[in-house]
Amino acid sequence: MPDFLIGTAIFVLATTALGLLRFIYGPTDADRMMVAQLLGTGSIAALLLVSAVTGLSAATDLAMVIALVAAFGSAAFAKGARDTESGEDA
């Protein structure tokens, strides 16, 4: 069981890291804004899986905070980028 959990954590982390390529290539800022959302889900899944081996209690608290902050960050990206560029299109 532990090896399965950590193995899956590596897999999820690897897919998340691959997904980050999208933010390197863009092409638009809208594509980049998704990064907080992708890392929110990806890092929470990896974190929970890797901590399930040793005990989840502190890791779930951290996962809650990551979920909250990822939500906040995503909203800020979508919102902040609007403010920077929407001079003519608001």
């Binding site: 907080a36 990896a46 974190l47 608290d61 951290l62 905070v65 960050g73 902040g80 920077t84």
Partner: protein, 314 residues
């Protein structure tokens, strides 16, 4: 064991790749995005280093409010792009790269030759934890073992805010920071800013509360509360308050002032600055945490909101 090592390796490579991208990418917006991604990933590294308290701080500060701060700065500085100097030449950059490689090698050598067994202060902290009746060693260090650092830290936060405020021109004094929202309507965000803060406030208070016995505490919880406040401001449901309001200033000063008074009381009663009388140590520490939390939250929120501006429209 090998599998866990593979996870660490994959994580380290991802963190370094994101950091490299953050430094090398051309557009500032993309760099800020990369920095937030970096903050979220480094939090997982902290868990692997058995420091969940630090992970909570890292996520809440670097993954959350620093992103908003820098995003706001990107927006307002974009207009001045032309004023920025040229990139340095290739030879110069090569020289800098060599210099940075030397720094890296020196630090790497230091890491590889760290003394073994490593020096540690864990046993005295464990002894003091018993005296304080706390379960979380980091909270024990922050509020008991090295409480004066924490007191000065809250003062530093306050000084930074005074610094930010004093940057504004004289005529703006007593105004409000600029609103965080634009005129464009974003119904989904408004709805979200009504839905999320109640949940976020519960989680923030919970993180403060468990801080005595499990990872958490006032800085982590206070940062979450500040983030929820900022979300409400970004959605345009509330504007930043006027910096001249005396209630606001009282709130800002209350935490550090209370901490300082407790310290002085310790000097009078227990014979040492910030010494807590033994049977009441845990309740006093919890009380300090509870009084500091709103001050920390409001200070962080106002630091991101920026200097006050007196605007004809307000």
């Amino acid at each position: 064991m090998i599998v866990a090592g593979a996870f660490d390796l994959a994580l380290a490579v991802t963190v370094l790749a994101v950091a490299t991208w953050c430094v090398s990418v051309r557009a500032t917006f993309a760099a800020v995005v990369a920095f937030v991604a970096f903050g979220l990933l480094v939090a997982v590294v902290w868990v692997r280093l058995a420091a969940v308290d630090v992970a909570l701080t890292e996520v809440a500060i670097q993954g959350g409010i620093v992103g908003v701060l820098l995003l706001g700065a990107t927006a307002s500085l974009r207009r001045y792009k032309a004023a920025v100097a040229e990139r340095s030449g290739a030879t110069q950059r090569l020289a800098v790269a060599v210099f940075c490689a030397v720094v890296f090698l020196a630090l790497a050598t230091a890491v590889l030759t760290l003394p073994d067994p490593a020096p540690t202060l864990a046993p005295p902290v464990a002894a003091s934890l018993l005296a304080f009746g706390l379960g979380n060693p980091v909270t024990g260090v922050l509020l008991g073992y090295r409480a004066i650092d924490t007191l000065l830290e809250t003062v530093v936060l306050l000084l930074a805010l005074i610094g930010v405020w004093s940057i504004s021109p004289d005529r703006s004094w007593g105004g409000r920071p600029l609103p965080m929202h634009s005129a464009g309507r974003a119904d989904a965000l408004v709805y979200f800013a009504r839905l999320l803060p109640p949940v976020g406030i519960v989680i923030g208070v919970y993180i403060v509360w468990v801080g005595a016995d499990a990872p958490g505490g006032k800085f982590q919880g206070g940062t979450i509360l500040a983030a929820m406040w900022m979300l409400v401001m970004m959605a345009g449901l509330r504007n930043p308050p006027s910096v001249a309001r005396s209630g606001l200033r009282l709130l800002l000063v209350a935490g550090p002032a209370f901490f300082f008074i407790v310290g002085l009381a310790g000097l009078a009663i227990s014979g040492g600055f910030l010494a807590y009388p033994a049977p009441y140590a845990k309740p006093i520490i919890l009380l300090i945490e509870l009084v500091l939390t709103p001050s920390v939250a409001v200070t962080l929120g106002l630091l991101v909101a920026g200097p006050p501006v007196r605007d004809a429209r307000q």
